[in-house]
């Protein structure tokens, strides 16, 4: 067939029509070759188990195996090599060896703390732009599973404990990615809210809980972002693998919500050939363990699979590729504008920090000081804290270390202050040296935190390497001491009463050094809000003493079953329904500022009950000394049995100069 007469090249046809014509022209062999990625099949389950036994983590696993992320081209049909890049915290592992570097952004949990759709758009814009620049077609993000617990290893890739905050922020990210003609892929569909035994575990969840909490952000991505793809999860749902569960993959997603995109497996989450395709999974990655020639031909032969189902899977994916012009665009990778994108990362990073505590206005620090001592363990003081481990890790274009970043910011402020750093050994063996440095400095910045990782949950909600003891001992040395937390997840703070000021900056990515100094010295006023409540103690959590909720129990099938029997009570819904106070007495949505705000003239206008849009108006005034941002939040109490006291239904961030007020 000549190029000029091939019907699918006709750009006047709709993307779906072009996709259908293309699939009509394909041989069965070509079709099967396009159902899956091109990596050689390995035994990932055995490898993961071996590594877990030896105490190694996902990063070491990734180093051992060379993951390939593409579907080969078919030149005679004009099908390009399909290039699939991981997200969701920047352009992660992509199609290429080595994987190309990209802007290392703050983690998704931090973005959620911004409570700002403009920030979410800027975040997605960087990711989409860089995916396109690197010539890739798919960005595997955003991640919208929920923070059901604060120990889940992949929470840093997800937004929040609240489904509306997660959904509305993810919609902004996905739209911004797709504006660059890149396929955004929401993940991990669905209830992959824990990493523990993720290849085996089964989640039991009531339908109303599934709909009102865990499916809600996915529904918003379909309806509000017109997202092109989803990734199906590793886990089982009600005893059936997510990749084979027709209820979520087809009945809800397509029949009820009208999703027109395609579903890719998570890497090695495909567990069968015919059952997966029949349920509605369309694309196996990264290999052809299941959707290979032998299996697909055998299933067609024994009638457990119809050719229409094979065609359907391909049409769905090609429709999205045509929609974004990916057949018509030659592969032409370019160069990322590292300084410009880094400046955006710095701006985003400084807007997402949450000021948790600030007694006597200790922060911001006066840059006209003599000496500053940065003290903490290596992961938090020596290098930029890039973020969680696993497949989402971005190879950074550059990084800003804490010491260098602080010196840059102080220089820009014409400060003569000297900055020193003491790296505390992970076994705390040099705590005396840290204590001495803290005594001698005018100001002490203690940096601590947690870097979580895909593939494993945390054993508990504490920071590692005895950092609680490190903080406890160093907090009583010098009264001018502030704590900077760099976390993937909310952590426990048994030392909190000794701390005068605590700033949560999350895992920041490349601009860590600048962002933290910008905030500490008041170049930027913190305006982030808690996206997931900090428990005071693990005894206060929904899983305390409830192994059937987490980590699950063997109910007779051999694999662990996690029962979401807490129902709608997760996050602040749990704390409020149970009458338990989270840490600080202020959980979800809380965050201080270097200024103060007053909220007045609140009115609620409901002209026709809930049948017409309800308008909430309020006046927010900056009543303090410096410019700052505040987030007005609206919650609703729904009079239905079993509903928690409040659900977030709207929010809006506003930035105000001192003495000014919003209209």
């Amino acid at each position: 067939m000549s190029e000029s007469t091939a019907a699918w090249r006709d750009t006047s046809l709709t993307p779906r029509e072009r996709a259908e014509k293309l699939v009509e022209a394909m041989t069965l062999g070509q079709k099967i070759a396009q159902l899956h990625g091109a990596m050689e099949t390995i035994d990932i389950y055995a490898l993961s188990a071996q590594l877990a036994e030896s105490g190694a983590d996902m990063d070491q696993l990734a180093a051992q195996i060379r993951v390939e992320r593409h579907v080969p081209a078919i030149d005679e049909l004009g099908i390009p090599r399909f290039r699939v890049t991981n997200g969701p915290v920047g352009v992660g592992m992509g199609d290429g060896t080595p994987s190309p570097p990209a802007t290392s952004l703050p983690m998704t949990i931090g973005l959620a703390a911004g409570f700002d759709l403009d920030l979410a758009h800027a975040y997605g814009d960087i990711i989409g732009s860089e995916t396109a620049t690197l010539g890739q077609h798919v960005l595997e993000g955003p991640g919208v599973c929920l923070h059901r617990t604060t120990i889940a290893g992949r929470n840093f890739e997800y937004f929040s404990e609240d489904p509306y905050l997660s959904g509305v922020m993810a919609v902004a990210v996905a739209k911004a990615i797709q504006a660059h003609n890149v396929i955004a892929m929401g993940k991990h569909y669905v209830v992959n809210d824990q990493e523990y035994e993720r290849f085996r575990v089964s989640v039991e969840v009531d339908e109303h809980v599934l709909r009102e909490l865990y499916l809600l952000p996915f529904e918003m991505l379909v309806k509000d972002a017109k997202i092109a793809a989803f990734m199906s999860a590793y886990n089982r749902i009600r005893g059936v693998y997510a990749t084979e569960y027709r209820h979520t993959l087809t009945d809800i997603l397509r029949t009820e919500w009208g999703f027109e995109g395609y579903i890719q497996s998570d890497f090695w989450s495909c567990r069968s050939a015919a059952p997966s395709l029949n349920a509605g999974m369309d694309h196996e990655m990264p290999d052809a363990k299941w959707l290979n020639e032998a299996n697909v031909r055998a299933a067609l032969q024994d009638a457990s699979l119809e050719i229409k189902t094979v065609n359907r899977a391909l049409v769905r994916r090609y429709t999205q590729m045509f929609r974004f012009g990916q057949f018509d665009r030659p592969y032409d990778p370019g160069e990322i504008d590292a300084p410009a994108h880094g400046a955006v990362a710095r701006a985003i990073g400084s807007q997402i920090a949450v000021l948790l505590k600030n007694d006597d206005g200790l922060l911001p620090l006066n840059h006209d000081t003599g000496s500053v001592a940065i003290i903490g363990q290596s992961a938090f003081v020596d290098e930029a804290c890039l973020g969680g481990g696993g497949s989402s890790k971005v190879t950074p274009l550059y990084t800003v270390r804490p010491l260098d970043g602080m010196q840059d910011v102080l220089r820009d402020l014409d400060s003569a202050a000297s900055v020193t750093k003491v790296t505390v050994e992970d076994d705390l063996s040099n705590l005396d040296a840290a204590r001495k440095a803290a005594t001698q400095a005018d100001v002490v910045v203690l940096m601590a935190g947690l870097v979580a990782t895909e593939g494993a949950d945390q054993p508990d909600a504490n920071m590692l390497n005895d950092q609680n003891r490190m903080l406890d001992e160093l907090l009583s040395v010098n009264p001018a001491t502030v704590v900077v937390l760099k976390d993937s997840n909310p952590v426990l703070m048994p030392w909190i009463d000794k701390a005068r000021a605590v700033l949560e900056v999350w895992n920041q990515g490349a601009e860590d050094g600048h962002v933290v100094a910008d905030l500490l010295f008041g170049v930027v006023n913190p305006s982030g809000k808690v996206p997931t409540s900090y428990p005071r103690s693990e005894d206060d959590t929904l899983y305390a003493g409830r192994p059937e909720r987490y980590p699950g129990t063997d109910e007779g099938d051999g694999y662990p079953v996690m029962r979401y029997s807490e129902g709608l009570e997760i996050g602040y819904r749990w704390f409020q329904a149970q009458g338990i106070e989270p840490l600080f007495g202020f959980g979800f949505g809380f965050g201080l500022s270097y200024t103060t705000f007053g909220i007045t003239d609140v009115s609620v206008d409901a002209p026709d009950g809930a049948r017409a849009p309800v308008t909430v108006t309020a006046r927010v005034a900056n009543t303090g000394p410096v410019a700052g941002g505040e987030v007005l939040q609206v919650y609703l109490g729904v009079p239905v049995p079993g509903q928690p006291p409040k659900r977030l239904v709207g929010f809006r961030k506003t930035f105000l100069e001192p003495g000014s007020r919003s209209w």
């Binding site: 339908e207 909220i599 609140v602 809930a610 108006t617 809006r652």
Partner: protein, 51 residues
């Protein structure tokens, strides 16, 4: 500043899942609107009657 809560929005702000109709349904009753700066700090409230 203004925040609009639309019952028809994709996040079903006024609704709960109804097992008999297999759909999100807004039930009659008194809904409480809480306005503030965190989930635990909502000093301003109002009631909306849905019938």
């Amino acid at each position: 500043m203004t925040i609009t809560i639309d019952a028809a929005a994709t996040h079903h702000p006024f609704s709960a899942w109804d097992y008999s109709t297999r759909a999100f349904v807004t039930k009659p009753g008194e809904y409480t609107v809480h306005v503030g700066t965190s989930a635990d700090s909502t000093p301003h409230t109002a009631t909306i009657t849905v019938w």
